[in-house]
Symmetry: D2
């Protein structure tokens, strides 16, 4: 059994971790912390967790984690970096679902996140937690930076093309549509039901924090990689649909095979048959990325469609996949539930 | 032309007043106030009002209203009672869309609203703004208490039955389903998209502020009237569906005619044919109450179904209907737009 | 391992059976039939089932089921009664998710379902598949009538009160709100997105097929039981919220304890603390009925709130719970997933 | 007064025409036809139109239109072309809301629409009904091809850039998100509530009928114009959000001014301030196209965001704007209602 702790269990990533871990056969939830809810049963905050009657929020003190093998940070940005050294020193592994350890260039991180980084050395040591890219490094890691939700959907759509040098890497446009749970669980007019439902809008066209993250990962594969990234807010809870455009180099006739080969051994990337259209609802609640690639011969462009559940393969499920690797468990353990549809 | 002022134009009732008044041929919006937004163009807060480019929020000072014939309070409870005397003294009529003047029993009001009433004398003078009940009094009124949204849907469903003494007045159950806009425009987790969509729940079963309001109005018609009132939150923006149950006295065979006769001259109450089911979407954006009455001979009960748009016939449209009456305009002026469907 | 067959796997109950059975440790899906889709991979029809790559629809012939221990009918009404005798003769157990075996009074069934029943003898033999009421009989049954979705929500809300003789059994009103998946998966304007979303309506006020079913079950417990049942269509996919009213006999002060005691050993009925409000989303995807009971001393009435996922505890999950009992497995096997929220 | 007829009033464009025309001060709805509903009151089919109690569907015979000045075809494709000559011969003007007269190249039309065109001569004579492009020609036209909904959103986003030769016209990508009402009002599983809600998907990536229409219009302005067009289905009823990408020629610093100047006199195109994000809900029910243009200096690309209500500026409102022009009325008559929000 792996004893885990969860820091900040009152956001949507935290509650999803609890839901998924509740059916993981090799995990014991040792502690879950929340300063504002310390002492309160988790079931009181989240009605769907009423079966976990005994679980209560604790104070987020270092001592709370002493029996943990691994701690998940499902906290706002800048929280994990304050506690990471103490935990690692105590031999406790860390997966940060926020952004503290994702960007290697500290100056760049500080610009986008508007804060001073308190442990740059750990950033260097941290492994970017995308198993499809870094599986072996994750197995050996003690500190994993769980990827952002948009980056997962965009990067997985592009890896086969970049790997085969099939595109002009500077021509990428990622037009992404996200459900509202991506904005987190907080009191704000902007995410109110009456403001979100029955409407669509773009935002952060001039720059979103996930842009430097995507760029860093793509450029590690191909130095020429550049992209326009446009996020849109959708009137739904879960799901990201990335529509990714890129100019083909040479003919695109074989692209279906390229994708199928690249992902043939991946348990959580599903390449659909040629001509398909993935639906976000097909991965609702599931740790899956479903991809279809289209080639437009007239325009010599690829249009790659990829969908994930932003709270699962884009956050909590991804984190558990990383945990399984870091703790020597089977990679897909506890993650085989199908999408819930309708 | 009627010169009007709007106090507190940043909530959903306020924005709906602006939308409806923008196509009223005899109204000039003289001023709209909001302490927190003073100086800001209204169009900046509400994208649908960008055509009203010149309209800006002002400070909510008494002087601001000096050119107004009538002022709407689209404010939280307890705001209107603070300013009512000064406005009335200056010869300015008032329609309060909040609850300050709805409950005649001051002690009862203070119990339910948790505040001390500052102008009990005005409460006595105020007219409850339901034209189907109080049309003549509204014409002569200078201070109108615009009804709550739930009460409109429930009272209009019951008036014909109470008027004809057709029911056991103590047997009423009003099971009401409301869209989320009824909860107002504010930053709260409880009304966030991800908390409201794809779910239904009851609330305030043990007592909602609209209960004493409904009871007061029904008992004025029939002293025996008593009810159970259960509000439910629906995953939609606009609309209330009241499902009202009552025990029939005698046979209910003629009830369709009773409803058709009672409302035959009403411009904004639509009695549907026998066997019909009103849909809330059919009145979206429209100042209509649509009603169908069903009689269950086996159980000797009536089931009355009534729908309104809580922001229109349940708030802003009703207020304009009252304004038309108070200002000697045709009652339906500016209120004839059809529901938007789909 | 239990070898199961599914007849009619292209509706919402069928797909939900597949989803739930896919993580059941003791079930092998031997065959799934669909006349119109015979030969087609299931994954082609349902994108969320793409992991079940090998599963294909077969012709619905009796021979197809020869290796099955148990067959689920997730078909329209009147299909199961045509094949039941042949299967039972072959020693294959049956769970019918439709209504062919729910109503004991054949004349009543024929009136409500507009068909001639072809095997009345089997109706007499069939067990109504509500474990909270009939657990022991289900264990021994070879033919189980899986309950309707509305009946589950209403009956579970009333059993403790009827058992303790706490209510006037003739005073029941069940005001029920259901998600649209209850209407099935078929091409119709009435269930189109643009017709359903952002709206609420009642239907079948004068009589719904689930009314005689509820009445039969309640009257088996208390002969005086009578009810008004009003279904409403909600703008959401999954979930039923039953709001059940009944006149109390004597004081209702102890009612919380009555519910807690009655359901203390039930794995899938969750009695919430006094003053609670169950949300349908809290059971989305979960085999749970969550209940809160309120007592209104002023009106001497109970208001019981109960929620289920109509496709799980109201259909497919319930069916698996019955299968577990019929096949000697642990009752909750494969059914412990938590609700997905948000 | 203009006497109008509506052919095919049972789809979403037809019902929206009725809603909008009901408040048009200079229009008399002379006749509305529907073969399948002949004799039936319109209000029986559409609850929101119950105020139009006297209006009934007639048979779609030529004689029915004899008192009409103008007839709207709100029909499926290929219906208008069958009746157009007879109507025009009788001196009746025509606006076709379907696609029969949009594509000038008959061969191209026949390829995309899978039918033989029956009146190519009228195609040559027809005017494409986008007033922002063809206002004067529309004034003189007797036959107007009302544009497709996607084309309106994409073309209006690009006209200022093409007019100023500010982009590489072959670099256009139009990533479009549409509400479900764009798919029409028909019985189909694909548009069922349970299939559409809480999900996003792309479709017709390899070619949509609106692609040749957009290309024809853009190429009339700039022969080099070429585009990738990707439609997506959104879980909402109304609204299109076009996100249009193009490579800038030269610096894009002045682009805000270019848009403001180009549309300065347009009553129904609203250029938002720099840095804005239009929301589809802001134009719900309104005949508006709201646009914001963003320039990304790092990538030297424009990202133009434009929103319309597909049933209003994308269909029925646009048609009325065209009617006003064709009949010598003020262009904006009957079209000034604001968007309904929330």
């Amino acid at each position: 059994m792996v004893n885990v702790g969860i820091v900040g269990g009152t956001g949507y990533s935290g509650i999803e971790l609890l839901r998924l871990l509740s059916s993981h056969p090799q995990v014991n939830i040792e502690v879950i912390t929340s300063r504002s809810n310390a002492g309160k049963p988790v079931a009181e905050e989240f009605q769907n967790l009423r079966d976990m009657a005994e679980l209560r929020f604790s104070e987020p003190e270092i001592d709370s984690y002493q029996n943990c093998d691994l701690v998940f940070f499902a906290t706002p940005n800048t929280v994990a970096m304050e506690q990471a050294e103490a935990l690692l020193s105590a031999g406790i592994k860390i997966i940060d679902l926020a952004a503290d350890f994702r960007i290697k260039d500290i100056g760049l991180w500080e610009k986008w996140y508007g804060a001073t980084h308190t442990c740059p050395a750990l950033v260097a040591q941290a492994v970017y937690g995308l198993p499809e890219l870094n599986r072996d490094a994750i197995r050996d890691a003690v500190l994993v930076a769980n990827p952002g939700c948009y980056p997962v959907s965009v990067i997985l759509a592009l890896l086969p093309l970049l790997d085969q040098n099939s595109i002009n890497a500077a021509s990428i446009i990622a037009d992404c549509k996200s459900g509202t749970s991506g904005a987190g669980r907080s009191a704000s007019v902007a995410t109110a039901f009456c403001e979100v439902t029955e409407s669509v809008k773009a935002y952060a066209v001039d720059g979103h924090r996930h842009l430097p993250e995507i760029r860093q990962v793509l450029q590690a594969v191909n130095k020429q990689a550049e992209l326009v990234f446009t996020p849109h807010l959708m009137p739904m809870v879960r799901g990201i649909h990335a529509t990714v455009y890129a100019d083909a180099r040479g003919s695109g006739d074989k692209v279906q095979q390229v994708f199928e080969d690249y992902y043939s051994d991946e348990p959580f990337v599903d390449v659909m048959p040629a001509g398909s259209y993935p639906e976000t609802r097909s991965v609702k609640g599931a740790n899956q990325c479903r991809i279809a690639v289209h080639y437009l011969p007239d325009r010599n462009k690829y249009v790659v469609l990829s969908v994930i559940d932003n709270l699962v393969k884009g956050a909590a499920g991804q984190a558990i996949q990383n945990m399984n690797l870091m703790c020597g468990l089977e990679e897909s353990m506890g993650l085989n539930a199908l999408g819930i549809m309708p």
